[in-house]
Every structure is written in C-alpha cells, then in structure tokens.
Subunit: 246 residues, 2 copies
C-alpha cells in the first residue's frame, strides 16, 4: 500500500479533447494484501470481478476523443469505485449468485483501509483532473465505460448497449438517438435508481457537465477485434453527440 | 503557495458527532500573492469579501455537535469555494454593486493557479474526511454555514434565517419546521437554482447525506455575544432535526 497510485492509472492526462473517460471496473487484479480472494479461476475472469472488455474500449474511445482516461488497477470486488464507501455494494458480500468470501463480515478497520487505498485516491485524482480542465475552460463531457453480462441470474439480456445518466439526460439521449447499429436502450440494464451513477453524481452533476455511462454487453467486446470494431462504431457517435450538447 | 494547507483549516477532525460543518466564506484574509486586492477597508470587512460572523457560528455549532469543521482561510474573492472552477462566480469580477479590480480579465494561468491552491485542496480534504467517516459507519449530515447582508442592492431583506438544500430537502425542512424564534424561510434569500449549492451537490447528494445550507442575516451575528446566542438557539434545533432524518 505504499504506492497508492498503483491502484489506478491515468492515460493521456493532458489530452485536450472534449471528454474525460473513466473506467471504474477496468481490472480483475488483486494486488497485495488483497491477493487471496478465495474465488475460482472462472470467477476471477468473469463479470463479478471486473467489466470484461471495458478497459480496452475505454482506451480506444479516449484515444479517438484525444481524452484523458482514469482507470482502476484493482478488482471491483476489493472496492467498487462506482459506489460510496458506506454502500453495502462498495465491498459487496454477494455478486449475482456468488458469495464473495473475502468480503464477508469485514471489520471497520478493513473497510477504512480499502477506502483510503482505493476509493479516496481514485476520486481525488479524477476531481483534480476535472477541476484543472474546467479552470482552463476546456469543454468536458464525462463518459464512464462499463460492460454487462449477457445472462444475469439465468436470464438472457436482449439489450446490447445501454446509456445511463444522472440528473442530466442530454448526452445520453443525444447518443441513443444516433444510428449506432446496436440494440440501444436508455437506462438499461440499470439506471440511476439502482445506485449505479455515483461517479457521475460526484464528478459531472455538481459541475453541470454533460455525461453518460456506457454499458456494453460483454459478449460484443470479448476479443481485440470486437473491441476495435466497437470503438470504431461508438467513437464518432459519441463525438458528434458531445458536439451537439456541450 | 508552498503550504497549501494554510488556505483552509480543519477543527476537530476526529469529532464523532452526527455532522460535518463547512464554512466556505469564513475568511476575509488575502494571503500572498493575492494580498493586493485593490479594495477599500470598508469593502474588505463587508460581505463581499467573506460572510461576516459565519466562522464563529460554524465553530460554535461544530463544538455543540462534536463535529469536524472545514473552513476557508482566504477570502471568497480569491476563490469562492462554493462555486465550480469554470463558474464566472468562482473568481467574480463583480460582487453586488462592487467591481473587484483584481479579478478583472484573469488569465487562464491565474485561474488555474487559484484553482490548484484554493479549490482543489479544500474540496479534496472535505471529500477525504467524509469518505473516512462513511467507511467507519458514522452518521453524517452536511451543514454549511453562511451569512447574508441585510441590505442587497439597496433593498432590505426581511428574512432572518434561510435554509437551502440541494436535491434532498429533508433536513432543511426538518430544521425549518422547528421553533427557532427567527423569521425563517426555505430556499431564501437564495436557492439551488442560483447555483449556491455546489458544496452540497459535490459532497452530500452523491452520498445520500442529509444536508442543509444555513444562511443567517449577518446583522444578527455581528458580535461575539450575538454569535454565542445564535449558536445556543440553533444547535439544539439542528441536533434534533438530524436525529429525525438521519
């Protein structure tokens, strides 16, 4: 825990494009002292540990938009950076049907330790980056990139691309209204009512920034070729939607 | 600018009471290199430079609630910490009828410098304090303390005590409904629509924390005796309102 920065990374921090991209669930890494999660190999590569494919798409979008990217370097099961520290979902005891052994009955001291090592520095870095951009007068939309599992609690999900917003729907709607070539839905498979917009509520809404949380069905970004194609599909759409609302 | 902490202070950081108190406009100090604001002595002690009396009331409330207090140590005219960095009001060119000479036509570099020295560390410290409390499971209401001038643009203000909220009105209403002995109004003399709830929007709403911005007419807290009396009046009311909603 001596090098806090090792639990998140910032690509292209000086990017002057009209967005900041965030990927809270980018990693299925379990760094020490959290390296014994007690999960199977299958669980460790599944959506319960991270959002498969999301980092590669986030990287591609950030490059295409000339935007900074802030991304996690540790599993969401250690701390879900898109949840506040007092939420049961921040260090969840269950994910879908899976019990998470190393999160059961956590002590207050362990909750504080993870909050200080993961949550606080990640959000402080994002807040700092955004404040510096705003002070410079740079147009800034906040885009968070997630993926979701095609089958949840045994039920297939039809939606391919979800756009979720906090209190300002403009950018999410502007993206959804474009010709994307995916089965696209607003506020599916989740919405702000499910508590999934913490990053947007902290970093976009108080600043009046246009924002959207992208949710991509993870079977559509399962390998490098598919990820590259998804970036090529989404980047121009997002770019033009930002130009429309920002 | 080498000692960033000198532009804000935290009293009682380990206070375990059910609130965190914030006073963004606590100071009319102009530290170097911002020590030549080009204002008269009368302007420097007036509401345009700070919220007179607010720090003393905030200190008294924090003591009564056993709560931490985060307060500014530099004038709001250098940076209004209750505004985002891209807001014209953050480094305002005018306050009420007064031109603020040292804020006219600021360079981007000066805007960045003030943002980095004042805004970013103040809000990072508040975010850090709140996250640690939430990780510990401490009940936390966010209370910001302000004062307003009895005469604004030549017009007397009748209201004595205003309660302003961001998206969650519970605590503000619970306070307003109690027997305070002041002419009390909800969302007067300002409201969220005037852009005055930035601190609440950043630090309370994304965490679901009960919150209220207190606005006290500054002629009612003009000296130590009046400030002490105001604290004695407000502290039990706020305490019981927090107990009701938190």
């Amino acid at each position: 825990m001596s090098d806090l920065a090792s639990f998140f990374g910032i690509d292209n921090p000086e990017g002057l494009g009209p967005a900041v991209v965030v990927c809270e669930h980018a990693s299925n890494h379990f760094p020490p002292p959290w390296d014994k999660p007690g999960l199977s190999d299958a669980q460790l590569v599944s959506h319960i540990a991270w959002d498969p494919g999301a980092l590669e798409v986030a990287r591609g979008l950030a490059r295409a938009l000339h935007a900074p990217l802030v991304h996690a370097k540790a599993s969401r099961l250690i701390f879900d950076l898109n949840r506040p520290p007092h939420s049961p979902a921040a260090m969840t005891e269950r994910s879908e049907a899976h019990a998470i052994p190393f999160n059961l009955q956590l002590s207050r001291s362990e909750r504080r330790s993870r909050t200080q090592a993961h949550y606080i520095p990640f959000h402080a870095a994002l807040a700092d980056l955004l404040a510096r951009r705003l002070a410079r007068g740079l147009t800034t939309a906040l885009i968070t990139v997630h993926s979701f599992t095609p089958v949840y609690f045994g039920k297939p999900r039809e939606v391919e691309f979800g756009l979720i917003h906090d209190s300002d729907a403009r950018l999410a709607k502007a993206i959804a209204q474009r010709d994307i070539g995916l089965l696209t839905r607003l506020n599916e498979p989740y919405s702000a009512a499910d508590g999934v917009t913490h990053t947007l509520a902290r970093h976009a809404t108080p600043f009046g920034l246009p924002h959207a949380m992208l949710e991509i069905r993870n079977d559509l970004i399962a390998d490098e070729k598919a990820q590259t194609a998804m970036v090529a599909r989404l980047a121009p759409v997002i770019r033009s939607a930002i130009d429309e609302v920002a």
